[in-house]
């Protein structure tokens, strides 16, 4: 008894760990793949086709069957079957090669869009998922919410008009608020405006915009514009973007008499021994954490200065209303101040 080769034991152990890793690694594990593939069904394909048509018709683009097959990542036969079925149910009308939404089809599509955007709003308000993850999660959830679920969700969230990216959420009667705005890439130099929308597709560009730390609701001024780059100032910092990124950010131009606060800045760039007044909290801080900051005294007009620096750099402690409150850098960057 008790005689065995340690090498054999180790080999068995590593074989088992590799197997467990292949089965259960996040997202790509076999176990998850099998679990997910059994879920994907006709309903999802139908709804994805409807959504695709809806978004394209909104942009005045008309698609044919080939376009649909190329854009969606399902197998061709499944898509063709779904399109036939949809045409039988009069969700779409096929004339020759081009596919159009019928009235009932576009109502259905609107309901999916509503569910998607409401879910993104929910994720933003009530959960801690990263911004980059919202779209993908809503993409899965939109197929699972019934009309009643969506209405309940809407009233829970206070019937919001816009999702966290600034896209309008259709009401249950199909009404859609208009986004008035111009892409940053088309603004002339010197324009002052407020960011109202950041497109979440394509994902690569969205992630780059997020990485630049640009927030919805920030006031910006265009400083420089060349074919290769666009520079604007906002909240005390300068941002340089490629036109393709700038094209995905929409700005509503502000009236001429609004004064652009040149010394408006983010709390994160306040230095030791400087004092400042709070101007407001960015719209990117939502829900409970926003209320908590207000409770702690980060309200308009309050005076703030740095109380303590951290041996590791982050977080910093701010002195506000006679109390020392430590905030992490990412939160401080979403509080706007005006330096004295």
């Amino acid at each position: 008894m008790n005689t065995y080769n340690p090498i054999t034991a180790l080999a068995v152990f590593f074989a088992l760990s590799i197997l467990a890793y292949l089965l259960f690694r996040p997202n790509k594990g076999w176990f998850w793949l099998i679990k997910n593939s059994s879920v994907s069904n006709d309903k999802i394909v139908v709804e994805d086709v409807l959504k695709l048509l809806y978004h394209n018709e909104n942009a005045d683009k008309h698609l044919n069957i080939n376009d649909i097959i190329r854009t969606l990542k399902y197998n061709d036969r499944l898509i063709l079957e779904s399109i036939n079925k949809m045409s039988d149910h009069e969700l779409i009308s096929i004339q020759g090669d081009s596919v159009k939404l019928t009235k009932s089809g576009s109502d259905y599509a609107l309901r999916i869009v509503r569910a998607h955007r409401l879910w993104e709003k929910f994720l933003a308000e009530k959960t801690g998922f990263k911004e980059a993850e919202w779209h993908e999660r809503a993409e899965r959830m939109e197929h699972e919410l019934s009309k009643m679920d969506t209405d309940m969700l809407a009233s829970q969230l206070g019937n919001p008009q816009f999702d966290p990216h600034g896209d309008p959420i259709p009401t249950n009667t199909g009404k859609i608020a208009k986004v008035k705005g111009i892409p940053v890439s088309e603004l002339p130099i010197g324009t002052i405006g407020r960011i109202v929308n950041i497109k979440d597709k394509p994902e690569i560009i969205y992630k780059q915009i997020l990485a630049e730390n640009i927030h919805i609701g920030s006031v910006i001024r265009i400083m420089e514009k060349t074919p290769a780059r666009i520079e604007f100032h906002s909240e005390g910092e300068a941002f340089v973007l490629a036109p393709i990124m700038a094209g995905n950010i929409t700005v509503s131009v502000l009236e001429k008499d609004v004064v652009f606060e040149e010394n408006l800045a983010r709390l994160s760039i306040l230095k030791e021994n400087e004092t400042a007044k709070i101007i407001g909290i960015s719209k990117e801080i939502r829900g409970d954490s926003r209320r908590r900051l207000l409770d702690l005294g980060f309200v308009k007009g309050a005076e703030v200065k740095i109380d303590l620096l951290n041996p590791l750099g982050d977080p910093k402690a701010f002195l506000i209303k006679g109390t020392s409150i430590a905030l992490r850098q990412n939160q401080a960057s979403k509080i706007l101040i005006q330096k004295d």
């Binding site: 008894m1 008790n2 065995y4 340690p6 090498i7 034991a9 180790l10 152990f13 996040p26 009530k126 959960t127 801690g128 998922f129 990263k130 993850e133 206070g158 019937n159 919001p160 008009q161 816009f162 009401t171 009404k175 608020a177 407001g280 909290i281 719209k283 409970d288 954490s289 926003r290 209320r291 908590r292 900051l293 207000l294 702690l296 005294g297 309200v299 308009k300 007009g301 309050a302 109380d307 303590l308 620096l309 951290n310 041996p311 590791l312 750099g313 982050d314 977080p315 402690a317 209303k321 006679g322 109390t323 020392s324 409150i325 430590a326 905030l327 992490r328 939160q331």
Partner: protein
């Protein structure tokens, strides 16, 4: 009212809501806050407190400075732990003198005078009473020292600064800065550490803190670590260095626990706990002189006695089980020997042995009785003469004698090191498991918190054993 009018009102309200827009609620709330701030500014007059504030600021500057911040923190933690471990020796010795050496024989004597049958006497006195007495003797003094000290620091205002200093490290592992506090609280007792996670306001970080609290070496485990390190690790070097060597080994295990705490926090926040709500803000209150007696009173009542009571409730049945498995015979061997035999193979694979695994199974209720149980079972299996008979836990006054028994049971340096590792990485005691359930109200997370460390313990001891055998 007819439905037409109701519908009209509803649609009117929807229209109005549409017109005032999304930002209405926020603007209103912020307006109220700003107005309130204005009113306070006009009507409330504060005395000039700059003088007092300046002392605070000076202390803060040192405590959070790049040079002194971290050394001070480790120094204070080390002093607290040292006071606890060394200071607890004397009352512990006294308590065990009374409970184990005086009352236990007296009870036995009383039982035999009234003619109690041997099995009832064994079950109640050698089983239940002895386990409870042991837990009180080992657990009460360190807790009664550690918790008041900790509460004094908290009251003074130092602990929030520790959280402030360490937050960045915790942020990197996806956790909350205040986890630094619950982690150090866990050095006293994991159950108390888990209750303390109530200070973390976001649910995700709180769960992380609860699940990883077990990686703080608690009072019930420090004595095991120190004893085993003294017997086996200290003996590796000349006698004059053995004290330092064994101390270094114990501290090494505690630091390893912290490393595991960070790693597991990171892993949890990247996988199963991804995307729960997370917020961070930490108030750094002004320093104030601690209210000494009140602090001591509340910390002894709130923390020490409640935790001790739970431990006793769980230890009593454990004592009964230990006595029963050593005294109930199946065929020609006791239940304990059967268990030990069947677990020996697995134990060997982990560089441990069957005795240790059985001791850890029956001692789930209280880590304090692991060493006494191991000694009793080793004597039972090897048949050497020591102790007071089957099912009677004991400890020896002399470290050398304890070492002799363990070596007779086939222990090597590998067994000792793996026991130290396994004592760090195994399931929390039942008091802690119960507390986790009470705090999370979730069977799922209680299971995760209980099973995860044991799996890690198996993996780590297994790897160490194999590599050791390859190299040796």
């Amino acid at each position: 009212m007819d439905t037409k009018k109701i519908d009209h009102i509803i649609s009117l309200s929807n229209d109005l809501r549409w017109q005032i827009g999304d930002e209405f609620h926020d603007n209103l709330a912020e307006g109220i806050y700003a107005d309130a701030a204005e009113i306070v500014k006009d009507s409330v007059h504060k005395k000039d407190e700059t003088g007092a504030f300046r002392i605070d600021a000076k202390i803060d500057k040192i405590i959070t400075s790049k040079i002194w911040g971290f050394p001070l923190m480790f120094l204070i933690l080390a002093v607290v732990l040292w006071l606890t471990i060394v200071g607890a020796n004397y009352p512990s010795a006294m308590l065990s003198g009374i409970l184990l050496d005086t009352i236990h024989p007296a009870l036995k004597g009383f039982a035999s005078t009234i003619g109690m049958p041997w099995w009832l006497d064994g079950f109640l006195i050698d089983g239940v009473y002895l386990a409870v007495a042991w837990v009180i003797a080992v657990m009460l003094p360190p807790m009664a020292i550690f918790f008041p000290l900790f509460t004094l620091l908290e009251d003074f205002g130092y602990l929030p600064r520790v959280a402030f200093n360490l937050d960045h490290l915790f942020k990197l592992s996806g956790a909350h800065g205040k986890q630094a506090l619950t982690m150090s609280m866990g050095f006293g007792c994991n159950a108390a550490g888990i209750v303390a996670t109530r200070i973390i306001d976001s649910p995700r970080e709180r769960l992380i803190a609860i699940i990883t609290n077990n990686f703080s070496l608690c009072n019930g485990r420090w004595p095991t670590q120190i004893l085993i390190a003294t017997i086996f690790v200290g003996a590796l070097v000349p006698a004059s260095y053995s004290g330092i060597m064994s101390l270094a080994a114990v501290i090494g295990i505690a630091v390893l626990g912290m490393i595991f705490m960070f790693l597991v926090s990171w892993g949890l926040s990247k996988t199963v706990l991804k995307g729960e709500v997370s917020t961070f803000n930490l108030e750094l209150p002004p320093y104030r002189p601690p209210r000494f007696w009140k602090t001591i009173y509340t910390s002894i009542i709130d923390r020490t006695l409640i935790v001790l009571w739970r431990a006793i409730v769980f230890a009593a049945p454990a004592g009964a089980v230990i006595w029963l498995i050593s005294n109930i015979y199946l065929g020609d061997a006791s239940v304990a020997s059967w268990l030990i035999d069947s677990l020996d193979g697995f134990g060997f694979l982990l560089g441990l042995n069957g005795v240790i695994l059985v001791a850890y199974i029956v001692a789930i209720p209280a880590n304090e009785i692991v060493i006494p149980t191991i000694l009793m079972l080793t004597v039972l299996v090897t048949g050497i003469s020591a102790g007071a008979g089957a099912g009677v836990m004991f400890e020896l006054d002399s470290v050398t004698a304890t070492g002799d028994i363990l070596r007779a049971g086939g222990w090597t340096l590998l067994t000792a090191i793996n026991l130290m590792l396994f004592s760090l990485l195994h399931n929390p005691c039942s008091t802690t498991i119960y507390t986790i359930y009470k705090e999370t109200k979730s069977v799922k997370w209680t299971l995760v918190a209980s099973i995860l460390p044991v799996i890690m313990g198996f993996v780590v001891t297994f790897l160490v054993a194999q590599i050791w055998r390859l190299l040796a």
